[in-house]
């Protein structure tokens, strides 16, 4: 009996040691999961769905399925993330910032996603970022434009893998002065909310710094989703500025262009559309020659001719019968940034699955390839990407692509259109772009 008791005790001791060892090995790092669950938040309904949300979701779907199948060109030619398949959990961004904060909590706490890639609206980014920090959940913002996020405070778990609105509008000003150096007067028509006002202020102040004698003739701020711009067009036509800047997007941009055509606004002024790439495939010949088109970075019609971009355009177009536009490119930047960071952390961890802190450390200050070229996480202590920006001007209608072709395309590198680390955008512009290196 005594011998048997000793035997049980010995067995218990061995078992105890084994359990402790397993426990210790678990604590050393998370076990390799069966899947990487990625929350994806983008507009699936409302006015921002068709121009931005759906092209972004489409990009996520096609890239994730190609990544899981291991069909993406190098350096992303290994399946999934470190061999683990990616499982998207896609939710609608509609409903306002408060709802998105609740949805973010639900994604992290109930759906148990490993990270969230999301947000087109700047208001949603501003609201969700502190919550991500509080929950210690990885958040990669993929499309929102406000420059406030990393200029106002610093984050540990929050990243943005594309440039903010400063580059769109500094780039637009530099481009205009390059193709129309004689420009003397400007005007703007922008939606009356943060995005429209910030975009116009950045463009106007950049123009004033780059060419102080430029005069502002009109500043129109119709309400968001107004759709009817007859009086605003009259005011712009009567003012006769050399250049009209607009950061309109979606249905508002399309309605403005449709209403501007019979009013010959294009004959009097050069229009600058900072989000123009999204309407090129939609409006075809409704956009006349001589309109300046931006894509919030080197995306869409202005993307570089690199293998990743050729692959992306092909798989996207084959699946959705339309080419990707800039929100699709922004989504690709987020997904490739995440894959790059995970695999970098995995390698540094010698094959052990990384913690989110290790993934965050790997993404901080990273440099990675995307269909839009190489992205550097250079601002906001390595959490905010910088990228270059490209602009072109419409020339003639291409019957094969059913789009207006772009000519006089100029690419401004990241160090030309982004403030240096540690300096706020407004200050950078006000001080005359110190440190900017432009070709």
């Amino acid at each position: 009996m005594a011998g048997s008791t000793k035997g049980w005790l010995a067995l218990g001791l061995v078992l105890g040691v084994l359990v402790t060892m397993v426990g210790v090995s678990t604590w050393a790092g998370p076990v390799r999961p069966a899947e990487v669950r990625v929350g994806i938040v983008t507009f699936l309904s409302g006015a921002a769905a068709a121009p931005f949300g759906i092209p972004a979701r489409n990009a996520a779907e096609v890239i994730i399925s190609e990544l899981n199948a291991g069909r993406v060109p190098a350096p992303y030619n290994t399946p999934g993330i470190g061999g683990v398949p990616i499982r998207p959990v896609i939710i609608d961004e509609a409903g306002g910032a408060e709802k998105q904060v609740a949805e973010f909590r639900r994604l992290v706490l109930d759906e148990r996603v490993d990270l969230v890639i999301g947000y087109i609206s700047s208001a949603d980014c501003l609201a969700v970022a502190p919550v991500a920090e509080e929950l210690r959940a990885l958040l990669v913002m993929f499309d929102c434009g406000t420059n406030q996020i990393f200029e106002e405070r610093s984050y540990r778990y929050v990243f943005r893998t594309h440039g903010h609105q400063i580059l769109d509008n500094v780039g637009a000003a530099r481009y205009i002065l390059r193709i129309r150096p004689q420009v003397a007067t400007i005007a703007g028509i922008n939606q009356n909310y943060a995005w429209g006002q910030d975009s116009w202020n950045t463009f106007r102040e950049s123009m004033r710094k780059l060419k102080p004698e430029v005069r502002v003739l009109a500043e129109q701020f119709p309400r968001l989703f107004a759709g009817e711009y007859s009086a605003e067009l009259s005011a712009l036509l009567a003012a006769r500025p050399d250049v009209i800047h607009t950061s309109f997007w979606g249905g508002d941009l399309e309605s403005f262009l449709i209403q501007g055509l019979p009013r010959r606004i294009y004959e009097r002024s050069t229009l600058v559309l900072t989000t123009g790439d999204t309407v090129l495939p939609r409006l075809g010949q409704q956009i006349p020659p001589g309109v300046v088109i931006g894509a919030r970075g080197p995306h869409g019609a202005l993307a570089p001719n690199v293998p990743l971009n050729r692959w992306f355009r092909e798989v996207y177009t084959n699946r959705f019968n339309v080419r990707p536009v800039y929100p699709s490119y922004h989504m690709s930047q987020a997904l490739f940034g995440v894959k790059h960071a995970y695999e970098k952390a995995l390698a540094a961890n010698r094959g052990t699955w990384p913690t989110k802190e290790q993934v965050a450390a790997a993404l901080r200050g990273a440099t990675f390839d995307t269909p839009s070229g190489t992205i550097r996480m250079a601002l906001g202590n390595g959490h905010q990407a910088v990228e270059g920006v490209a602009y072109g001007i419409t020339s003639r209608f291409n019957t094969a692509t059913k789009e207006m072709e772009l000519t006089q395309v100029f690419h401004f590198p990241a160090e030309c259109v982004n403030p240096p680390e540690g300096m706020k955008s407004e200050e950078w512009i006000a001080r005359g772009f110190p440190g900017a290196r432009c070709p």
Partner: protein, 298 residues
């Protein structure tokens, strides 16, 4: 002087569009005493119906001016199908109930129609710009206006005149006026109240859809356009006096002119002009410009 002329033309163009999109709301309130929130989505249904018919018509390569007739057909079809269905199917059960309940019911109809339009037409935009560019330009004060804007002005004037004639000069119109003043006595005199209600609701729906159909060529027809319109239409009929057709016309004109002046002279105020006009009018006349005080029945 030139600027004043441009402000007047812009104001008139915007006012005619405002009248077209809001008069149906006022008509339905005038007769049924229901604030029809679904008016916004009936506008959207009209815009989608008009746009999709114009797209099909233009793709078929038919006689281009016929596209204008197609817009009219789209509006009539949308309004005449949706109007009676909504009134007979849902709204009539709310007659005599609390106004809050009626408001909630028409709001739910609005939400249902918003989703139905997405189900039928999808979320991708529709472009029906052919009629907009068909009629050429008119040069006023040195700048070009699309002649289409003046066609909308003409349609709005015809709708206004037609409604006035209908209410004041036809037998059915007089019955409608009698119902507005006293539904109970009208029934006692042999008026078929249901018929008056369903006809008025259908007419109001056709007017909402007409506003949508004639707006479609100017815009990118996308989900959500109905929300914007119901806010504007509500402001117009409140300024004019709920239920008054003359009020809708004068309210639209007032808001149109003030907004055009703001766009040209003080653009920062543009966003608030509609609400400024509304607040100013309601301060002086709480029931709107043409609103009448009603005796409460006990």
């Amino acid at each position: 002087m030139n600027q004043l002329l441009i402000i007047a033309v812009d104001g008139l163009v915007f006012a005619s569009w405002l009248f077209l999109v809001s008069v149906g709301l006022s008509l339905i309130y005038g007769v049924l005493r229901i604030l029809n929130i679904a008016h916004g989505s009936l506008f959207a249904v009209g815009a989608y119906a008009g746009a999709s018919l114009v797209v099909a018509y233009s793709a078929a390569g038919l006689w281009p001016p016929g596209a204008l007739g197609v817009l009219l057909v789209g509006a009539l079809a949308a309004g005449l199908v949706a109007g009676p269905l909504i009134e007979r199917g849902i709204v009539r059960w709310t007659y005599g109930r609390e106004p809050v309940m009626q408001l909630l019911v028409t709001f739910s109809v609005f939400l249902i129609l918003e989703d139905l339009t997405k189900l039928v037409w999808g979320v991708s935009p529709y472009y029906a710009y052919q009629p907009y560019q068909l009629l050429g330009q008119v040069r006023i004060g040195g700048i070009d206006y699309p002649a289409y804007s003046f066609l909308v002005l003409l349609v709005a004037a015809l709708v206004g005149a037609g409604l006035w004639w209908f209410v004041r000069r036809t037998r059915f119109g007089r019955v409608v006026v009698a119902v507005i003043h006293d539904p109970e006595i009208s029934v006692a005199m042999g008026v078929n109240l249901s018929r008056v209600y369903v006809t008025t609701f259908a007419l109001g729906s056709v007017l909402a859809a007409l506003g949508g159909a004639f707006t479609a060529p100017m815009i990118s027809v996308v989900p959500g356009i109905g929300v914007e319109v119901i806010v504007l239409a509500f402001a117009v009929v409140v300024v004019g006096g709920l239920g008054s057709l003359e009020g809708a016309a004068v309210g639209a004109l007032l808001i149109g002119l003030v907004r055009a002046a703001a766009v040209h002279l003080l653009p920062v105020l543009e966003l608030f002009t509609i609400y400024l006009v509304m607040a100013a009018v309601l301060l002086v006349r709480p029931l709107g410009l043409f609103g009448r005080v009603e005796a409460r029945r006990i």
